[in-house]
Symmetry: D2
Subunit: 148 residues, 4 copies
């Protein structure tokens, strides 16, 4: 069982805006990229049809921004499982700037996702319990790992 | 003085993802577009050098998603000033799907922005009081408008 | 039958990059938005299952950029059908800046799209003739409209 | 002197659209990312003030798409200098899918960029010769490398 995963991203030109800093929307992209890499690290894909076709729509996303990022900055995106519920997962995502001194936290986000099944006829999404084969691989992070 | 503004956006092809719904990141784009349109509606631009060069970095952004949007859906993005502080503004943004029945709320977001001055030598951002010429045009929404 | 359609877009904050101008990728987004609006103007959707499920993957896209666009510029995106072939369409897209003097052309693009059917079992895309109900509504622009 | 550089990118969820494939705009993002990584591989940054503040606006971008990419595909983005002119560079970019058999070319693009100086008073961009310190590090690729 695992409760965390870390990816590294570079601030690319297209991530910047006319203020010369990374546009805040990219923090949300990076959260999702870390979530999907976490699943891959467990030998799964977020896009699965096994044991059945599942989706993971976002029900809540939030981020606090404390320090601006600039072109070619290197960012650690550290995802932790904050809550493991029957039909949903809540992640904490800590962003740290790796280049420059000091190595600092620059943002901290939350992502809550529901496990859903899609009715192929109507397209309607229904929350379902996380299948055992997936749930057995994921654990909630201990309080000390969450830094709270 | 004004405390709200509404824009309408259509879900374009590029907003969708392989789940067939609008990617959640676009809700954050639409929040920002509504904020900037609100400033224009008051005869200002979010990108101003009058009375001095100012920036409005995001310090917090959040959104709860309650209903999926699809290609060619039409969305009302209703921005309200939830809090007017000395050096920052907090907005509530209500998203409603305009096509189809019933006309429903599909998401609700929060955007908190700081008023900053940028040191042209160091690039450092410093929070400053919102200039009077701007503050005089913006009011906090009454509780009943916020639907709380 | 129709051979052209025009939409207007504003340069939003998120379209800009650290050079202070609109990132070139957005010209491609606007081309596609004009193509889809063209279909809607003919009472159709680019996402159709009638008379059969069709897709319109891009086979070629190109753009020449002659003038930079900035935040809050207003742009006319003028799409013209340059070629109507049996299984594909080629569009010319002319971008004009509407604010400021003179009203000038700022970019000119090309988009070539194929009409395809998707095999639901394998996911394989196969080029097919444009269905008559669609082809009958679309005409190639006269040479003088293309300004060539 | 160098004439090529290769980066690898994964197709992320946000790159996909409702057709279930990577949206074509991302090929243009990847071209630019490869260009900037090429500069870094030469000990430079595309964002430089040494020997003087320079910019590299795109004057032309094009891409032919021959095979659809899907979520979690791995792509080699191979950039080659096709032409080295006094005031501009033209790149060929070859995209290859690394996972699955056969390892195939999926798209081929062109990017032409001008070397410009920006007038800090007016913001006007003026094409200038590529500074010697930069030009000395970049070479045009031999015809056989371009596969022509």
């Amino acid at each position: 069982m695992a409760y965390e995963y870390t990816i590294v991203r570079e601030v690319e030109w297209r991530h910047t805006d006319m203020a010369g800093i990374m546009h805040f929307s990219n923090f949300f992209y990076f959260m999702e990229a870390a979530e999907h890499a976490f699943f891959r690290s467990l030998g799964m894909s977020i896009d699965t049809i096994d044991p059945e076709p599942l989706g993971w729509p976002r029900v809540h996303a939030a981020c606090d921004f404390s320090y601006p990022l600039r072109f070619e900055d290197s960012i650690e995106v550290h995802l932790l499982v904050r809550e493991k519920r029957q039909k949903s997962l809540v992640y904490t995502i800590v962003f740290r700037k790796l280049n420059g001194e000091p190595r600092r936290e620059v943002a901290r986000g939350t992502l809550a996702v529901a496990c859903v099944k899609r009715d192929s006829a109507t397209g309607k999404l229904t929350a379902v319990p996380i299948p055992k084969v997936i749930a057995d691989k994921i654990d909630a992070a201990p309080a000390e790992a969450l830094g709270t």
